[in-house]
Symmetry: C2
Subunit: 231 residues, 2 copies
């Protein structure tokens, strides 16, 4: 352990303000000294369903999906996640193995911290652990709530819900590039790819949206909200 070779930059990391607000300098230093940043190209698997959980993951840049594989070419998507939005926290305190996979949809960078280190800090530092608790509670509430919202809607309502989700929650803009395929949308809201496309086309014909490949513009937000609410 020879002195000052660490160029630890965690103090300015957005994850710190998000997650490690109430942490001792010593603890943060331990994290910084052992953390690893890994780059995952689009399409690669970050964690695989069934693998042993060893690290605490945080998405620094990119876009990922949390998914369960059903067959070779069919999955169920639990949620999409952006930085600040995805911190691997579900399962990691209760399970030895991952319950689902995390896959990079766009090029992504993951910051990875040894889970035992996190657990040790949690044992010592009540404030930090309560922050963890709070964060986990938010994450699972959000997932459960989205599941309920989706499952009570018919297909048109689901598509409207997803379009509003991207437009309002993610991009805050009426025009946006869909970051996911039609198939992935289908796997998120439990329907077939064909019907995702079909309803996109219907909405286009009805003048509610315009479509150009991955680029979507919402022309009639009110109508879309109505379909989402009634569907």
């Amino acid at each position: 352990m020879n002195g000052e070779i660490n160029t630890c930059d965690c103090k300015g990391c957005e994850l710190k303000s998000l997650f490690f607000e109430n942490i001792e300098d010593k603890e943060l230093k331990d994290i910084c000294n052992t953390k690893k940043e890994v780059f995952y190209p689009k399409g690669t698997i970050i964690t695989n369903e069934g693998d042993e959980i060893k690290d605490f993951h945080y998405l620094k840049t990119g876009l990922v999906k949390l998914a369960k594989k059903l067959t070779e070419n069919k999955s169920q998507i639990i949620k999409f996640a952006r930085p600040l939005d995805f911190v691997s926290i579900l399962s990691i305190f209760s399970d030895k193995y991952y319950q689902y996979s995390v896959i990079a949809i766009e090029d992504s960078t993951i910051c990875s911290i040894d889970l035992n280190l996190i657990k040790n800090i949690a044992l010592q530092n009540g404030k930090f652990t309560l922050d963890l608790l709070k964060r986990m509670s938010q994450t699972s509430d959000d997932i459960i709530n989205t599941f309920l919202e989706i499952r009570r809607r018919n297909l048109r309502g689901r598509i409207a819900y997803v379009l509003l989700y991207f437009s309002s929650d993610i991009y805050n803009n009426n025009v946006f590039d869909l970051p996911v395929s039609r198939k992935e949308i289908a796997e998120l809201i439990e329907m077939t790819t064909e019907n995702v496309i079909r309803i996109f086309s219907e909405f286009r014909k009805d003048g509610i949206i315009s479509i150009n490949g991955k680029t979507i513009e919402i022309l009639n937000t009110e109508m879309l909200k109505k379909i989402s609410d009634l569907g």
Copy 2:
């Protein structure tokens, strides 16, 4: 604060071994002195969606459902829960208000502990907080997993899944009294009451189950598993 009027019996409570394994005597005493046990007759609301979260609840006896109301006579059920199974832990560390209601399906007894007390102990006692974390992780994993299992099945598969759930997970017996109505099953697995009944009848005609009001016997477990897996 006059001396020894407390007849605290928490030390033998099953909740202690489940949840408060790693807790100081002083902390347990605080809990015991302030806890309240309340009886809720069948059908009554224990906590109401939108109400302020003030207490940490634990189901001592009975059966409850966690549900979200959609209209006057339509709900979505998140899960059923028995003692040892239900500890109100979702949302309570992240939210000020309940995201869903808890309703007694059978006569139930709830042990209620001031949430601020729990939070204070959590700040002091890292082991206890990690136990909380673990428990919450299990609970939300379980709910999310069940949602995924249900939503990927067709109606026959869902009914088979639910019947196996009661038979295997809850009663550990081929014969059992359904503790819930057909409507409640429908609200758990997102289908209509009529179709729950219809598929029950189909299974009966096919010799897979026998039905006598609320009493159900599973005659052909293998077939039911096959339907659950393939549906």
